[in-house]
């Protein structure tokens, strides 16, 4: 027994310590092939597509339709098979790249693009796709959106699924509180007033913006004339007075008793259950919210991001781009076929009508053969398209420290909003730490 005990303890010590360890790499160095080889329909090329939309209940069906339609039409005709992988937390593609698996296309978020470019072998579009075809294809896509995936003048991500922040409103609660949902609150002061009225009249929370929303926060800071990351990406600016003032406004809103408490997922559930007056989130949730409201017997209204006083608001974008890392000329060609399809008129018709993201080929909204009928029926999308014109990109954090910076920034925002800490001090502390890393 004694000896067994001793052995066990030793074993425990060893197992515990080896919590994390990495195995050696095996795969050979993949060179950068710029050319394109011919595809063969008789011998189709398989490529993988990692998508977080596939893991979200409100987006899954639409994304599956998009992929299936490609496989059934162009894929079959040209010889490409796309295998989709659901990646809810943006971890699977990293793990699979580390494991040496083929990860060809990723539905990638904005803030960590530079990190992926530096560490994970993602490639610039100009380096793997034919230049003339690329230029031709990009015509008609909102130029503002195209800028977002560029680092050092090269495109590492093509804008794919896009949304802007929307104030969703529960029409029933608005009317119960004696408010008119068609006359939406325009400023943050309006939001505060309406939320307190809703709370007083219905007992339900008037407003919700999750402290961990991850992106709308940046719109808040920009709208008040603040900056998140300096132009040269060498320092952060979110601790300067304009930004601090914006976050202080939110802190006051959060703690006035009419603000819903909880994390993003919990707030979405609360709003969809009909228990919240106004909720700021991505348009991507629109299809889910619409279904929930129909089931719950209330109606949804929408408005753009509120502004500070008379300063026009500056919404940021949420959503994704397509980042690619094909490693052979054949795969270059196969990946290009898929990219072309999903960002085509047909692709965006599916994305907008079935998932809820914006059509980045904005002309589709007025095209009777495109999305005109759909958008006339759901005028909320017009607000989005309007916001798209003055959209500002979210910060793409300097690659080397991107994840640490994201954590520091969002923790500081969370602490400022949830607790009654001094906003200026909290933000300054985080900014100092980040600046120390990137300078």
């Amino acid at each position: 027994m004694n000896r067994m005990q001793k052995g066990l303890s030793a074993l425990l010590a060893a197992t515990t310590a080896i919590g994390l360890s990495a195995c050696g790499a095996g795969a050979a160095d993949s060179s950068n092939e710029a050319g394109q080889a011919a595809l063969d329909p008789a011998n189709p090329t398989k490529i993988t597509f990692y998508s977080y939309s596939l893991a979200a209940p409100t987006m899954k069906a639409g994304m599956e339709h998009l992929i299936q339609e490609f496989n059934d039409t162009i894929g079959q005709e040209k010889g490409v098979i796309v295998e989709a992988v659901a990646d809810p937390t943006y971890q699977q593609y990293k793990a699979d790249i580390s494991a040496g698996k083929a990860v060809d296309i990723v539905q990638h978020t904005f803030s960590t693009l530079d990190a992926s470019r530096l560490n994970l072998g993602f490639k610039a579009y100009e380096d793997v796709f034919p230049k003339d075809q690329l230029e031709e294809h990009l015509k008609g896509i909102e130029p503002n959106a195209l800028e977002l995936g560029k680092i050092d003048g090269k495109m590492y991500g093509l804008a794919f699924t896009f949304s802007t922040p929307i104030v969703f409103m529960n029409g029933k609660l608005f009317r119960d509180a004696g408010l008119d949902p068609t006359n939406a609150p325009k400023t943050w002061a309006d939001i505060k007033e309406a939320s307190l009225k809703i709370k007083a009249a219905t007992g339900k929370d008037g407003f919700g913006l999750a402290p961990n929303n991850g992106w709308t926060t940046e719109g808040l800071i920009l709208s008040n004339g603040g900056e998140v990351l300096a132009q040269d990406r060498k320092s952060v600016k979110f601790a300067e007075p304009a930004s601090v003032e914006a976050i202080e406004m939110w802190q006051d809103l959060y703690q006035n008793g009419a603000h819903a408490v909880g994390a993003e997922a919990e707030l979405a559930e609360q709003f969809m259950a009909g228990n919240m007056g106004m909720y700021i989130t991505s348009t991507a949730l629109y299809s889910g919210i619409r279904k929930a409201s129909e089931a719950g017997g209330w109606d949804v209204y929408g408005a753009g991001l509120p502004q500070f006083g008379d300063k026009p608001s500056i919404p940021v974008n949420s959503g994704s781009m397509l980042a690619v890392r094909p490693d052979t000329p054949t795969k270059n060609a196969a990946v290009w076929e898929f990219i072309k399809f999903v960002t085509s008129d047909r692709g965006y018709t599916i994305i907008t009508s079935e998932i809820g993201y914006l059509p980045l080929r904005t002309a589709l909204a007025d095209d009777p053969n495109g999305l005109k009928d759909f958008i006339d029926k759901h005028p909320l999308y017009r607000i989005n398209l309007e916001q798209l014109k003055h959209i500002h990109p979210v910060a793409i954090w300097p690659g080397e420290y991107a994840s640490e910076i994201t954590t520091l920034f969002s923790d500081a925002i969370g602490k400022s909003v949830i607790s009654d800490s001094n906003v200026a001090e909290t933000l300054q502390k985080a900014a100092d730490e980040i600046n120390k890393m990137i300078q």
């Binding site: 005990q5 303890s9 310590a17 919590g19 795969a27 994970l120 819903a260 259950a273 994840s403 640490e404």
Partner: protein, 323 residues
Amino acid sequence: MSQALETSYAPPLPGKPSIARNRSLNGAKLWRKLKPYLYLLPALLLLGIWMYRPLLNTFYLAFHKWGMVPGTTPEFVGFDNFARLMENKSFIGSIGNTLFYTAGLLPFSILIPLLLASVTHQMEGRMKNVYRALFFVPMILAPVSVSAIWRWLFHPSNGLVNDVLLRLGAISQPIAYFSDPGFAKWLILFITGWKMVGFSTIMFSAALTGINREYYEAAAIDGAGSLKQFYRLTVPLLSPMILFMLTMSILFSSQWTFAYIDILTTGGPYGTSTNVYYEMYKYAFSNLNAGFSAAAALLFFIVFGVISLTLNQLSRRYSFYDN
């Protein structure tokens, strides 16, 4: 007791050349020497591949910078990872939480199970097993589904807990438990503990069945009450198991809380519920910085190594074996 005699040496048979005899003798000797190692080989191979190779790899990576991408080579950075680690506030903060979880789990892994095991041990018949099964059920539930259940119970707007407390008038506003620094880590601790209780209870129950009943009869005759029997007989006789569970609890508390941290709070709100393992996981698989993660792992290898050696000493000194 009899002793088996070694009979490997046999007198040489007549008519056989002496050289051949010598060689076969050496072969047999070698075989006899090799045999125990062959028996050990499978275990050594498994340990080597799954434990010592990764361990050595961790030592190596701690001094390198590497994103784990195939085709890239780790870059030697000396002690940079350790320096960066010491400056990292979230890592320093997570050490405090790790201590909180380690100490906070002890009642759930030792005190409560010890009481539950002793109480159910004295029960007769079927109910004894029914109770023990009830305690054990949380242990076999998958952490993800357990988290989903707790998440719904503590949901800020639709959760049962808030609903009841609001009705009772105990609170005036619903609480977002997993987004509130005052509640998040306590709930993580409680859920991990709730799951832990069943396992420890079964371990203690098993150890209790090994105690000779005659001791209790003798103690009762000598006039010892049930409380006195508990701390004069049960506790000392269970000491090996208590020390074993203590070791398990201290060394594994960080790992057992991991799943709930990941699913319920992802370390938040603002890093107040994270622990070192979750931080290490983030460094390696979210930040793709294997070297940084390895440096943290190496530090904790040393810390936990010291703790387990100390506990080993304690175990040797204080365990009482009723052999």
